[in-house]
């Protein structure tokens, strides 16, 4: 009897802590989305300042180093430590500018957070909807590490950011004999091509 009671209490405590964790993760993504809209998009600051603000929040919230590792797929293991470092730097800069460019198209529709679901170990999916007609489904994949949450993927209408980059880069590398340095060079060139005009 005592054993059963301990088990029930243990299970209750476990489910409570899971609930608390998922609520913490939802709050983390909700706060981020809100901050991005209020502090970055809605401010009247010049575009270069907005980009710096966006970069700061984007780098804080996304685990870009881990995503960069994932997107190289089988080529990550083959790359030298220097190639990996250079690629991660280029990927961080490139993905920040690319998402800032996408974010600029956001028209201020309301985002509603619906809840969370477990993903693999230490990871959760946070479901949200941008209220449009038809509505746009956005799923945030977050990972808990050292009691801190970071986003590892954003899925918009079924399209995963991480998987799209991975498919694209492995295809590029397949055609370029697995030359990671060439991909890094290409990403640096692409980053420079983004223009953020002060008036948009």
């Amino acid at each position: 009897m005592k054993k059963i009671l301990t088990l029930i209490i243990g299970l209750l405590m476990y489910s409570n802590s899971v609930l608390a964790d998922s609520q913490k993760a939802i709050t983390f993504v909700e706060t981020l989305a809100n901050d991005m809209i209020v502090d970055v998009l809605a401010t009247q600051k010049p575009m270069t300042e907005k980009l710096d603000l966006f970069r700061e929040k984007f780098h804080q919230a996304l685990d870009l180093k881990s995503i960069g590792q994932f997107v190289l797929g089988v080529y990550w293991r083959k790359a030298t430590p220097i190639e990996r470092d250079e690629f991660i730097k280029a990927f961080m800069d490139f993905s920040t500018k690319s998402w800032a460019d996408k974010f600029n198209m956001y028209n201020g529709q309301k985002i509603v957070f619906k809840g969370s679901r477990p993903a693999q170990k230490n990871q959760l999916y946070i479901d949200s909807v941008i209220q449009n007609n038809p509505p746009v489904e956005v799923i945030w994949r977050v990972r808990e590490k050292n009691n801190e949450y970071k986003i590892v993927d954003i899925v918009v209408e079924g399209v995963s950011m991480a998987m799209s980059y991975r498919n694209e880069y492995t295809s590029f590398l397949q055609q370029n004999k697995g030359d990671v340095a060439k991909l890094t060079q290409e990403l640096n060139q692409k980053s420079q091509a983004f223009k953020f005009a002060d008036e948009k």
Partner: protein
């Protein structure tokens, strides 16, 4: 005559065979090849290049011109008009999928927008909170049992597809609204069809520009994104709920930790 047909078929088969990607033997390359599932990649890339050429030289400039000479309100009216025409397809496919909710909503939307929205120029149905679903013959084939069709195909002028959705595209041509448009006089049918392509392209100018600008391999990006998005549309049509897994985005993400 028979000889000509035979030679034509033979050259067609040879062309397809030459266009097949060679299956790699090295395990890691084989893994990528299987993940990609694009055995006709060389042929698909050629058709993709042709489609882009048509887009760069004709479709995108026409869409930009259309944007230059119209206001946002006018363009919304045009988009509403075409969306309303496509409700007839939504009604038919909703019925073929035995989905009364989707069928009746599409029918209500069509009636409301046609009669109270000046032949569909105004989307009064959305103001009345009648939900909107896009429904096509490819989704119907999935509901009928052809759930998985991953082999990538690029159709001339139509873009990314797969065997099931290619057949679905053919099905869309022989059902309303396409079949009704082809029954009209050429003077009405051609502008109506071309107008639809132009207004659709106008709506995606920024999105596709962004994608093109940021891709290291535009073909691979479009292949990946269109396939994932289509899988979501199919999952929705099949009524797969969030707990029914795995979804296309539910892959393993394992990391070496950086410290």
């Amino acid at each position: 005559m028979k000889k000509h047909i035979f030679l034509g078929m033979l050259s067609g088969i040879m062309f397809l065979c030459c266009s097949c990607a060679t299956k790699p033997t090295q395990p890691e390359q084989l893994k990528i090849y299987e993940e990609t599932n694009d055995p006709l990649e060389p042929l698909n890339r050629s058709i993709f290049a042709f489609n882009n050429l048509v887009d760069d030289t004709i479709l995108k400039p026409t869409a930009s011109g259309y944007r230059a000479v119209t206001t946002k309100t006018m363009r919304t009216g045009v988009t509403n008009f075409y969306d309303n025409l496509s409700e007839t397809r939504n009604v038919i496919n909703g019925a073929l999928q035995a989905n009364p909710e989707k069928t009746s909503n599409a029918f209500k939307r069509f009636m409301a927008n046609t009669f109270w929205g000046f032949f569909g120029l105004m989307d009064v149905a959305s103001d009345m909170d009648i939900p909107k679903y896009d429904n096509d013959f490819g989704q119907t084939l999935a509901v009928w049992g052809w759930e998985t069709s991953d082999t990538y195909l690029v159709l001339p002028l139509m873009g990314p597809s797969n065997p099931r959705d290619a057949l679905g595209t053919a099905g869309n041509f022989i059902t309303p609204p396409s079949v009704l448009i082809t029954m009209m006089t050429p003077w009405t049918a051609y502008p109506l069809t071309i107008g639809n392509y132009v207004q659709m392209r106008e709506r995606s100018i920024e999105f596709l520009d962004n994608l093109h600008r940021s891709s290291t391999d535009y073909y691979a990006t479009v292949r990946s994104m269109s396939r994932q998005n289509r899988q979501k549309v199919i999952n929705d049509a099949l009524g797969h709920t969030e707990t029914q897994t795995p979804k296309q985005y539910e892959f393993d993400m394992d990391f070496d930790d950086f410290e």
